[in-house]
């Protein structure tokens, strides 16, 4: 299912995200307006969204959003799903006719792993493994998202058209993240659009990572297969490895991705210095070098992070219990004329909002 020519994906982009820290849900129109206001940062070759809290009645099930090139791929993939999962419910992903061209077959399945297939691994590990199998082994099938009570919606096109195509105004979510893409070297392919989603994580990204080569090899050591050759995929796996599998606190994982300079570490108080030094020493291969701003959506929260010297734009704002992050201030002002607070997060310092806890890190 490799639709990419000439190696690694390179693109510039717009990102945007909205979280309500009290878990109140809003529909998809706001995020569409926010990302559409940064139209010039995309070139129509990819747009996408992730939404959290949209499937409350199936929140115990993994919601698989899948795309198929043709009915043969669908048949094979459904066979595979059937073998490994109990499918609670399935159906087409609702869309409408718009300017979006040649959509693949888009289906969603609410599933749980078959007990007998788990073989001692956790459900999450099992799901990741099976998702990777589908993506790499079943020609013409691709998993767009696989988390619980969340989904990713993406396509080739400008983000506002993608949102319209997927009828996002009909969904209500506590967290929305969005992406408009400006690739420089890849033909449009639906799977290559952002967000990249894995289990409950979904990630949108603007930038180009020069450490990609080693980040990828590092992840391979832990069994990840980076088949898409995109920075976003690598970022998602890094979060998965450090936060879900290694159980590092999210802000510590961010320190591994965008660590302070040694000079700063040398000046820190003894205890902090030791922690930071150890993180850099042990997680050196996780350092994400080069320009990036990312927004990560996860169960109950949202995180935004810049590279360690802030080579890509990122703005954050709050209004009452809403946290908004965006590539440009315009992406925020479009949906919120008068934020309570608006600021530019520091390089390498995460902005983290958690449902029930508010904005816990301001960056």
């Amino acid at each position: 299912m490799q639709k990419i020519t000439g190696g690694k994906d390179i693109s510039g982009c717009a990102v945007s995200g909205i979280l309500n820290t009290n878990g109140k849900k809003i529909d998809g129109r706001y995020i569409i307006r926010s990302i559409a206001n940064m139209h010039d940062r995309s070139n129509g070759l990819g747009g996408g969204f992730a939404a959290y809290g949209i499937y409350p009645s199936y929140k115990e099930y993994y919601a698989f959003h899948l795309m198929f090139d043709d009915s043969y791929a669908r048949e094979r993939c459904e066979e595979f799903l059937d073998k490994n999962f109990l499918i609670e419910r399935e159906g087409d992903i609702p869309t409408r006719k718009t300017v979006i061209q040649n959509p693949p077959i888009l289906r969603r399945y609410f599933v749980e792993p078959r007990e007998e297939k788990l073989d001692k691994s956790s459900e999450d590990d099992f799901v990741i493994r099976e998702v990777m199998k589908i993506n790499s082994d079943i020609e013409g099938s691709y998993v767009l998202s696989s988390g619980k009570n969340m989904a990713a919606f993406k396509a080739v096109g400008f983000p506002e058209d993608v949102g319209n195509f997927y009828r996002l105004e009909e969904y209500k979510a506590e967290t929305w993240i969005a992406h408009g893409r400006f690739p420089t070297n890849t033909p449009g392919w639906w799977g290559g659009a952002h967000p990249f989603a894995l289990l409950d994580y979904s990630i949108v990204h603007n930038g180009e990572i020069s450490s990609y080569g080693i980040n990828k090899r590092y992840l391979e050591m832990f069994g990840y297969r980076c088949t898409l050759l995109t920075d976003t995929e690598v970022m998602a796996y890094l979060f998965d490895l450090l936060v879900r599998r290694h159980k590092l606190p999210m802000k510590i994982a961010c320190k591994a991705f965008a660590p302070p300079f040694w000079d700063e570490i040398d000046r820190m108080p003894e205890k902090e210095k030791k922690v930071m030094k150890t993180i850099r020493t042990v997680y050196g291969s996780c350092l994400v070098n080069g320009p990036f701003s990312i927004i990560l959506g996860f169960k109950n929260g949202m995180l935004a992070l810049n590279d360690r010297i802030k080579l890509r734009p990122l703005i954050a704002a709050t209004k009452k219990d809403f946290l908004m992050v965006s590539s440009e201030e315009a992406g925020i002002r479009e949906i919120c004329k008068e934020p309570d607070k608006i600021w530019s997060p520091k390089a390498g310092e995460p902005v983290i909002g958690l449902i029930g806890k508010g904005v816990v890190e301001e960056g």
Binding site: G207, E208, S210, K216, R217, L248, I252, V282, G284, G290
Partner: protein, 502 residues
């Protein structure tokens, strides 16, 4: 017996320039130049000249040119002058031919087939003069994951193994006191201290004057166990077990008795004037389990406070061996390639045994990753690193740091005459002769080495900044930053890099 070998060099003296100052006469350790008072003229016995260029460098009027002038035989693609002269020598002496320095045969040098990447448009390059650019490197075993508790303050629950902190990913290779002069050792020690890196004692023990400066010393424990004592092991910042050396895989060291003078005998704990012969293998290591025992015996001795590494020569199955070493408790693996230097080695071994470091490095790094044990041990490579770009390429292929030996000696003045084994080094490096050792002023030596490291640091920063990288760890193992030219498919596969254009 008439020797059929003629000298290899011609000594040309421009008599219009020569002022009869006799500097050349005094400086040549091989007594090539002789002053004839009667004729007020200098005669040169060219057959003894080794081409060290000492006279030509010090002649105040630039009157001397030393030219390489091997015997010119009838052209023969099979029988080169190299083979003929070797046979003549052996027919005359009946002995094994010795040599110094690294393999000089034209085996492929992969560094010269690898090109580096740079950022354009989509990703900004970073200017090291304006932005911080980090080369700091920690060597040692690293856990796969950290246990950190979040709360009011962060609590680090994982204690990590001892690490060596390097301000740049370059260390000075093992060169023993004995094979090189005390002044050379002192230069290396001081330069390592100033630059924030390490030098390695080699298998010669640690001179008593240097015990107190152990902070930047890696002490070696080789098969001869020369000078090894608990004091010695504890004096350094790390211990390295030497199994093999790139210039002579499979054989031990040899320091001729003539070089074993008082201070060397004291440092090595052997009788003055006796040959210091280290056995080919460690006689307590015949298998990987034995190695494990020695590693842990040493770790016990130093109370697990410092890393213990193992050095091997790059040979055919070094990937498998490295995997064994990483599992046997080695905190770092030093890997010496076929072009690695030596103070003395049999010519036939040096020129024919081992494999290129680039291929060994690529396959070991890949193997350790496939086995998921790359974090178990750091990888230091050695053997023919000539420039900062070689270092950058090595790190991108997967090395944590590099050892430099020959390059450091060249910075000290070595002219690669390859006569180290004779003990008559004209530059005061590979000698113990008091007339000659004085020629290396350790203050100058230190400065020259520090300058070299600074120059290379700056160049490395330029190169990684150009790739849009500002910390060396993002280059380590990042083979996407490399492209090859003129290699075969198999070589691309082993090196794990793409051809230029792809």
């Amino acid at each position: 017996m008439l020797s059929l070998c003629k000298g290899e060099f011609s000594v040309e003296r421009d008599d219009d320039r020569c002022i009869r100052c006799l500097v050349c006469v005094r400086q040549c350790p091989s007594d090539v130049h002789k002053y004839d008072e009667e004729e007020d003229r200098i005669y040169s016995d060219e057959s003894e000249c080794v081409g060290c260029q000492r006279c030509a460098t010090l002649c105040p009027t630039d009157a001397i040119t030393i030219r390489y002038k091997p015997m010119e035989m009838k052209e023969n693609a099979n029988w080169k002058t190299y083979h003929l002269t070797n046979i003549y020598k052996q027919a005359e002496t009946g002995g094994i031919l010795l040599t110094g320095m690294g393999n000089d045969k034209p085996y492929p040098i992969y560094w010269d087939h690898i090109l580096l990447n740079a950022s354009q448009v989509t990703n900004p390059s970073i200017d090291p003069l304006r932005e911080p650019m980090e080369l700091r490197t920690y060597l040692g075993r690293k856990p796969d994951l950290l246990d950190i508790e979040d709360g009011d303050e962060l609590i680090l629950k994982t204690e990590i193994s001892p690490q060596l902190k390097l301000e740049l990913p370059v260390l000075f290779s093992a060169m023993s006191y004995g094979s090189i002069s005390l002044n050379a050792v002192k230069s290396l020690e001081r330069a390592a201290t100033i630059a924030g890196t390490y030098y390695n004692t080699g298998e010669g023990g640690l001179h008593k004057d240097l015990h107190k400066y152990g902070k930047n010393t890696i002490v070696q424990c080789a098969s001869g166990r020369f000078g090894v004592s608990p004091d010695y092991l504890n004096a350094g910042a790390a211990v390295e077990i030497k199994i093999g050396q790139g210039a002579k895989p499979g054989i031990g060291g040899h320091l001729p008795g003539e070089k074993v003078l008082e201070e060397i005998s004291e440092t090595r704990m052997i009788v003055e004037g006796t040959d210091a012969l280290s056995p080919a293998p460690h006689h307590d290591i015949y298998s990987i389990e034995d190695l494990r025992q020695l590693i842990f015996a040493l770790k016990e001795t130093i109370a697990y406070e410092k890393p213990v590494g193992v050095k091997i020569a790059a040979v055919h199955n070094s990937a498998a061996i490295s995997s064994g070493m990483a599992r046997a408790g080695a905190d770092f693996i030093a890997l010496d390639g076929v072009r690695g230097g030596t103070g003395a080695a049999p010519l036939v071994t040096r020129d024919n045994v081992g494999i290129p470091i680039e291929l060994a490095l690529a396959s070991i790094d890949q193997r350790l990753r496939e086995e998921g044990i790359r974090n178990n041990a750091s990888l230091i490579i050695a053997g023919g690193i000539r420039s900062s770009s070689d270092i950058i390429k090595a790190i991108a292929l997967g090395a944590d740091a590099v050892y430099i030996g020959t390059a450091a000696l060249v910075a000290l003045g070595c002219h690669l005459c390859q006569k180290c084994y004779t003990g008559k080094c004209a530059w005061g490096i590979a000698t113990q002769d008091p007339y000659l050792t004085k020629r290396l002023n350790p203050e100058i030596g230190t400065r020259r080495l520090v300058n070299l490291l600074n120059a290379w640091s700056n160049e490395m920063k330029e190169l990684i900044g150009g790739m849009g990288i500002n910390a060396i760890e993002s280059l380590r193992g990042n083979r996407l930053q490399l492209r090859g030219v003129g290699l075969t498919d198999t070589e691309y596969k082993i090196l794990g890099i793409l051809p230029a254009g792809e």
